[in-house]
């Protein structure tokens, strides 16, 4: 038994298994429990250490060889697996309430397994292939087989696929840089290609046009899942690069590029959000700013930045999940997400509307909500480097907040004497309600998840020190 089999191959197999049940709630429950079990296993079972269970002794190997390539999951990676599968479980449990369980759970499980594989494979060159496979699996999730793919799906596929060759090329060049570290031209070329690859994968401005398009034409919950898992894993993958190559890590230019890219994402995403008239697009732009914050965190001093980066992941995932589920509740009832049709809908969907508003406010960093602690420390860290950059960040947040206020106004502006209704199901109410409670708890007590977060930086040997 080896760790890659448990956390990569087993979920791949499970993704087929959870496809079998015909009822959505069974699929969601099975998928959620499986992901939770994988998360729990990553938290409890030690890797590469003999484990005595009564008369038996069990040792889970850290690596496995497949076709000459090594897939390695070290003990230091376990907290990360706990987090990834734990958050995936959250999405799977909510899939039935979003009416998407039979598509999202199997495909989502497979995507998660492949992306975990991309973090574990050595040499990293092959990660690009695994990411591409995950992207291809995302297509049937975003565009059901009986539906013609929209522009957003096509553009998503194009941009993500364009990222792959850049990563492959850079991997090839980086091998040369390792061999002759003094070759500056080669280092610049490889860094440029690497940057372009990540720009496509992370949908850095202006390559994020697929996000708002996708949020308009696909199921919000499916898009939400993709907007959570792809950037999160890509960012972890990118952090691995920074950790591995000291010349990259210590280069002031790299930090400057990360900062500029992050600020561009936050400022443009925030300002664009201020003018949107579609609730789905609003979520898309908020997701863009979330990635911007993660990039900014990585541009700060290594220890501070990495801690801020990990602090950001969980609230971002929870916020997106609540937002996407709430939007799905509206679309399940045949509602268009355009502002003009959403006027006063809070009277009909009070819980879903509350979910949308609070998730949006959390994405703007409103104190008391989950997004605030991470946003605040990143903002402070940035201000220590440059007050000008902090102003740009504030501008982006102001734009995002304007979008939140407009959403709030649209949802609550009902005509006189409109009766209150309760069109959500009890499951939707419960899940959104629980999510909202978590948003508040995390906003007030960010230290509660510290036992999990404290070990995450250990996965990065140099940055985490």
């Amino acid at each position: 038994m080896s760790a890659p089999i448990i956390w990569i191959l087993l979920p791949l197999g499970l993704s087929l298994l959870v496809w079998l049940p015909r009822r959505g709630h069974i699929t969601a429950m099975l998928g959620g429990l499986s992901a939770l079990a994988l998360s729990g296993a990553a938290w409890l079972i030690p890797v590469d250490t003999a484990l005595r269970i009564g008369p038996w002794s069990l040792k889970i190997a850290a690596s496995v060889q497949i076709l000459g390539r090594r897939i390695l999951i070290s003990p230091a990676d376990q907290p990360m697996l706990t987090m990834i599968y734990g958050l995936a479980a959250l999405w799977f449990f909510g899939a039935h309430a979003a009416g998407l369980a039979r598509r999202l759970v199997p495909l989502g499980m497979a995507i998660t397994a492949l992306l975990v594989g991309s973090l574990a494979v050595e040499p990293f060159l092959y990660a690009a292939l695994l990411i591409e496979m995950a992207v291809l699996l995302a297509i049937p999730l975003l565009s059901p087989p009986n539906q013609k793919p929209g522009r957003g799906v096509v553009r998503f596929l194009i941009y993500q696929t364009l990222g792959m060759p850049f990563i492959l090329f850079s991997g090839w060049l980086l091998a040369g840089v390792e061999a002759s570290p003094g070759d500056l031209a080669l280092a610049v070329q490889s860094a440029t290609l690497l940057g372009l690859g990540f720009a496509f994968l992370l949908a850095i401005f202006p390559l994020y046009t697929w996000i708002p398009l996708l949020t308009e034409e696909s199921s919000p919950y499916a898009v939400g899942f993709i907007l959570w898992i792809l950037p999160t894993i890509t960012l972890l993958f990118g952090t691995g690069f920074l950790d591995r190559y000291s010349w990259l890590r210590e280069s002031p230019q790299m930090l400057s590029i990360l900062r500029s890219a992050g600020l561009l994402m936050i400022t443009t995403g925030g300002l664009w959000a201020a003018f949107q008239r579609h609730l789905g697009r609003m979520m898309g732009y908020a997701a863009i700013t979330g990635v911007g914050f993660a990039l900014l965190a990585l541009s700060l001093e290594p220890e501070y930045g990495l801690a801020a980066f990990f602090l950001l992941i969980i609230p971002r995932a929870i916020g997106l999940a609540i937002w996407a589920l709430s939007l799905s509740v509206l679309t399940m009832h045949g509602e268009s997400l355009r502002f003009r049709t959403m006027l006063g809908k809070m009277q009909a969907y009070p819980v879903a509307s509350t979910g949308i508003i609070l998730a949006h406010l959390s994405a703007t960093g409103l104190p008391l909500l989950a997004g605030f602690p991470a946003f605040f420390v990143i903002w402070e860290g940035l201000a220590r480097q440059s007050i000008g950059a902090a102003i740009w960040l504030g501008l982006g947040l102001a734009g995002l907040f304007t979008g939140a206020v407009r959403t709030l106004a649209v949802l609550v502006m009902s005509s006189e004497n409109t009766p209150w209704e309760w069109r959500e199901t009890w499951l939707q109410d419960t899940l959104i309600g629980l999510g909202v409670i978590v948003l508040f708890m995390y906003g007030l007590f960010p230290q509660w998840l510290q036992p999990l977060l404290v070990n995450l930086p250990a996965a990065f040997e140099h940055l985490g020190q």
């Binding site: 522009r151 194009i158 372009l196 720009a199 401005f205 202006p206 390559l207 046009t209 708002p212 398009l213 230019q253 400057s256 590029i257 500029s260 561009l264 300002l271 664009w272 201020a274 003018f275 220890e303 501070y304 801690a307 801020a308 602090l311 006063g344 809070m346 409103l366 104190p367 008391l368 909500l369 602690p373 605040f376 420390v377 903002w379 402070e380 201000a383 220590r384 007050i387 902090a390 504030g394 102001a398 907040f401 206020v405 709030l408 106004a409 609550v412 502006m413 009902s414 005509s415 006189e416 004497n417 409109t418 906003g443 007030l444 007590f445 960010p446 230290q447 510290q450 977060l453 404290v454």
Partner: protein, 518 residues
């Protein structure tokens, strides 16, 4: 733990009221329960005096490498007067509820107790982080309760606008913290850079509705007198405490005289509108603007005790006036005694109001003294107005309970002038109080004889003056132009040729970045 005790009493009572409303809607002792909870909380605040200063620390935010501060609450000589004022307000609101048409209303009472609990936490906040957390809680609570209270698209739009204005104030305080960090110091209430101090002033002003001068909410008339009053005054108190906490050194700036002039004008405007308004509840925003301006002015003159004095006078004086809904000769006379607390005369609550640790240009007195006099005249005028109900029409037990609520507010106002905190038992700048009182007497005598000061019955509620209309229209047009530009840009990037455009932009940005980095 005493801090926790008070807050828990308030929250648990509110929760009990909600549960009872759900489980036993016809439970008869619900008012007694509410008043009992408020009374216990009120008594417990007096008990704080035995162990002051009191500190209550929530578990530290982690990782500690990121979070310098954690939520901390402190009861000291500056926060205690606010705490006792707020609990008195809650108790008075519940006691006077017996004379209101919507009696009994356990939902509103639960709201009053919850808001008071949050308000207490806000006035006890010992660092900006704690304060922004509680501010956000108050804003969300206010948003939810107001949205439940009003119907119709326009009133609700106003609620959203009010919420966003307050969050902008919260954002300014956050920015003060960021600016302070950029300067190399962590913002706290002990030391803050000058720039951060001015941002803190603006934050308090924005949340109070003083800077810029906010418009009256026509929706407020739809709110009930008791709950609406508590909502407004708790919000004000939670903002005003910041003024008392701004370090003295942080408000010394070349900009201070200009800010002082702006605040003086706001005070005059508030006083003028307050004295001319015929309906007390509708004039409530002007009371907040006027008294809030005096509070800010004290902070600008490095006088935290004075700021607390004006803030408490705003809550207690305003509370007594706004909660009073029954007409009775003796009660009106009692209300008039509240003028003493607002007069800034020696040993009154506001005696410390005009003290100053910095020199004040004499021209400012020409603005502030008339402003105070106008506020006092308005107070007298609103105390004498005919009320909604007559005292005799109330049931016997209500005739006994109702006056206690009003008297309690006034008693606490007098008591705070005599002891319990650092601004008590002081002569203050007595001559300013004297001049303001004489001017008030003159104005009160002139008012019925001067048409200019006679309240006008129509048009005053018009929500915006012409220049404000123009400003709002201008801002809206700017927003639309920017929206049009954004839509155009989005259309280009998302159209069929969007990929090419995107790649072009990518090359452009890459070359720009490369240039910058080189």
């Amino acid at each position: 733990m005493l801090i926790l005790l008070t807050v828990v009493i308030l929250f648990v009572t509110a929760l009990a009221l909600l549960i009872l409303r759900w489980v036993r809607p016809h439970f008869r002792a619900v008012w007694l329960l509410a008043v009992g909870g408020a009374f216990l909380a009120w008594v417990s605040v007096f008990l704080w005096q035995l162990h002051m200063p009191l500190v209550f620390i929530l578990p530290a935010w982690q990782p500690e490498s990121l979070f310098v501060d954690s939520p901390v609450f402190l009861a000291d000589n500056l926060s205690w007067p606010y705490a006792i004022s707020l609990t008195t307000l809650a108790l008075a609101a519940l006691l006077t509820a017996v004379a209101r048409k919507n009696f009994p209303n356990s939902l509103a009472w639960a709201g009053i107790l919850t808001l008071t609990g949050l308000g207490l936490l806000a006035v006890l906040a010992d660092n900006p982080l704690t304060l922004v957390l509680i501010w956000a809680a108050i804003d969300l609570a206010e948003l939810v309760t107001l949205l439940r209270s009003v119907t119709g698209s326009e009133p609700r739009e106003r609620v959203v606008i009010a919420f966003s204005a307050r969050v902008v104030g919260l954002g300014v305080l956050l920015w003060a913290s960021i600016a302070s960090t950029a300067g190399g110091t962590t913002l706290n209430f002990i030391a803050a850079p000058t720039q951060a101090g001015l941002y803190m002033l603006v934050a308090a002003g924005l949340r109070l509705g003083v800077l810029p001068i906010h418009l009256p909410f026509t929706t407020e008339s739809a709110l009930r007198r008791g709950y609406g009053t508590v909502l407004r005054l708790v919000s004000a108190a939670s903002s005003l405490i910041l003024l008392a906490r701004i370090p003295t050194s942080s408000v010394t700036s070349p900009l201070t005289p200009a800010l002082l002039a702006l605040v003086a004008l706001a005070a005059l405007y508030g006083g003028w509108m307050w004295v001319r308004s015929p309906k007390t509840l509708n004039a409530r925003p002007y009371w907040l603007i006027g008294m809030g301006s005096l509070t800010i002015a004290a902070a600008l003159r490095a006088n935290p005790a004075g700021s607390v004095a004006w803030g408490c006078a705003l809550i207690l004086g305003g509370g007594a006036l706004f909660l009073s809904s029954v007409h009775q000769k003796w009660l009106t006379r009692l209300l008039l005694t509240g003028v003493w607390g607002l007069s800034a005369l020696p040993f009154s609550l506001t005696a410390a109001g005009w003290s100053s640790k910095t020199s004040t240009w004499w021209v400012f007195w020409l603005l502030f003294i008339p402003a105070q006099a106008l506020l006092l005249t308005g107070y007298i005028q609103h105390s004498l107005r005919p009320a909604e109900n007559t005292f005799e029409a109330q049931p016997k037990w209500a005739q006994l309970v109702y006056p206690v609520g009003i008297v309690l507010m006034l008693l606490v106002m007098f008591a705070l002038g005599l002891g319990g905190w650092q601004g008590a038992q002081t002569m203050g700048t007595w001559w300013v109080g004297l001049v303001a009182t004489l001017l008030t007497i003159t104005l009160a005598w002139i008012r019925p004889r001067l048409r200019l000061l006679t309240p006008v019955q129509a048009h005053w509620v018009r929500p915006a003056t012409a220049w404000l209309d123009w400003l709002y229209r201008g801002l809206w047009n700017l927003y639309r132009v920017l929206g049009w530009l954004s839509a155009l840009f989005t259309q280009i990037l998302e159209s069929d040729g969007g990929i090419l455009w995107t790649l072009l932009f990518l090359v452009l940005f890459a070359s720009l970045l490369a240039g910058g980095i080189r």
